[in-house]
Assembly symmetry: C2
Homo-oligomer: 322 residues x 2
């Protein structure tokens, strides 16, 4: 796995004296960074971390950014101006920048000490998607820095995840069709999730529904649901809940229990039922979003079909000035 | 100011060896912590920080929490089970816990090394609200730990903020009435904001609209708007934008410019126009949310009046089991 070589390069930077690891990008790419950020928040004993929309990173660059920093920057096109600028600033401050993009000619790569050109579009090999690549590098780096220790469980997880995703996609064919039939005329969705999956809770709202379907959406953390958001719940509002495996599952379960009692339109995507428990329980929760991303792509594809609204159509992005 | 005495106590803990400062609470109280969290993210050179919904903190307690940790826990009632549990866990791990509540008999105080009973309901004295108290303590603590340096600017800001808020509230009387008249029948709002204000962007959505008005709402970071969310923009969708003073103002301005071109229902709450530039520009941005909270309370009050939906009515919270 070439990620090992990248970790080696990281550890050569600043004589291996790394005190923080940052993630910055925009929209869908930012979403893909959340699992790595969440992993460090939870597992790091010393290394600190941050997760920034790129334009805020550019304007409010954390004082911590310096030679002892690793900064991941991801942009699918590789030319998102805010992301390119973020990489430039981080590099100028002496950080080791890791640029991830689908585009080998990306502007982003000019400011990337490490250049990662990822594959895309082949959902059978999710380990080559930026989300998985960053999680792999981050966990290996934490192990080098602090002796995190669960690398073999992680490696085993990466070995299994492609098969789990493939099986899950087969498993959800019928239910995603039913989902689309049932919900095709809904104007707005609430998306719930927790833990490592919260990035994709947000991502499904802003990318899959708002950007690709022009549908209203609102992402809610399952743990926050009972502290305000649940007051809008009724039989008419549709909720999609990502039920994670791992330590935050009780948060999702509690929201689901309530929704089943007071709501009526509830779609539950359960990582356990979809086979994620084949991964060692000490690391499985970090794989939730990899599974959810692929499965939720199936949901949005079926919805797009029935709504006759292509996932690729935009009215503003790349079409008008902004 | 008694906050000084609290900072002294913080610095006595673990012989002043503090390496991280965490914030954990639920809903509106979590929102009130965001400015302090954002301040540390931006200004701290070494101290690390985290901002957690309490139930996630309980289930996924960061490995960093230990004797070198300060953990703020806030609960208005002081009896929110997740918040009480978070304080208990933090204290067990040796962290110095600071509990903030309106209730002198709160369960939370049992697990608080420092007990802060705040005032509430008198909007003329916002410096006594938990948001301001935490920001004051956090900035003073960072100065003790790292020599942050802008304490006189901060003190001057705290001296001015009450007058600024009072004047702003007078200034928005007419426009909040017009807002309510214009938007009283809208079923859903998008709320935009950035920087230190993003907590209240989220908070206005989940507390003021969802919890208190049973209205649908979705919070969007101004910097993220162009990376997905803007595709739903049209002449019919209402947007409330908190236009901050400070380094992230260009992010808000960019969203506003676009909204003015492609949208039609846009309410802009501009911290500069409302007088926040009376505070020194090196720290003014951290005061945005204090101003916005009070001003947005006026917006929601006027909306509640016209909609004949009291801000205090709940259908689930404190009424059913969950």
């Amino acid at each position: 796995m070439e990620n090992k070589a990248i970790v080696k390069n990281i550890m050569k930077h600043n004589n291996g004296k790394i005190s923080n690891i940052y993630f910055t990008a925009c929209g869908g790419s930012l979403v893909d960074m959340y699992p790595s950020y969440y992993f460090l928040q939870s597992e790091a004993e010393k290394v600190s971390t941050g997760w920034y929309t790129a334009n805020e990173f550019v304007h409010v660059t954390p004082k911590k950014i310096g030679p002892h920093s690793i900064v991941f920057v991801c942009s699918h096109s590789g030319n998102t101006p805010e992301a390119v600028e973020a990489a430039k600033i981080a590099q100028e401050k002496g950080a080791f920048t890791i640029g991830l993009t689908f585009n080998p000619k990306a502007e982003l790569l000019k400011y990337s000490d490490e250049k990662i050109i990822y594959e895309w579009g082949n959902e059978d090999e999710v380990v080559n998607n930026p989300m998985a690549i960053m999680l792999d590098i981050t966990s290996q780096t934490l192990d080098e820095l602090e002796g995190y220790g669960k690398l073999s469980e992680f490696a085993d997880g990466f070995k299994r995840i492609d098969t789990i995703v493939t099986n899950a996609l087969a498993q959800v064919q019928d239910r995603t069709k039913e989902f689309a039939k049932k919900y095709q005329n809904e104007p707005m969705f609430y998306i719930l999730g927790s833990g490592a999956s919260f990035g994709h809770t947000y991502g499904f709202a802003i990318c899959s529904l708002m950007e690709m379907q022009w549908l209203d959406a609102s992402p809610i953390h399952s743990g926050e649901y009972f502290h305000g958001p649940f007051e809008v719940t009724d039989k008419d509002k549709p909720y999609i809940v990502m039920e994670s495996i791992g330590r935050t599952r009780p948060l999702d379960e509690r929201a689901i229990k309530f929704l089943k009692k007071y709501g009526n339109k509830i779609e539950i995507v359960d990582a356990k039922e979809l086979g994620l428990d084949l991964i060692d329980s000490s690391v499985a929760e970090y794989f939730n979003p990899i599974l959810f991303y692929s499965v939720l792509c199936e949901y949005r594809a079926k919805l797009a079909d029935l709504r006759n609204h292509s996932l690729d159509v935009r009215r503003y992005m790349g079409k008008v000035e902004y």
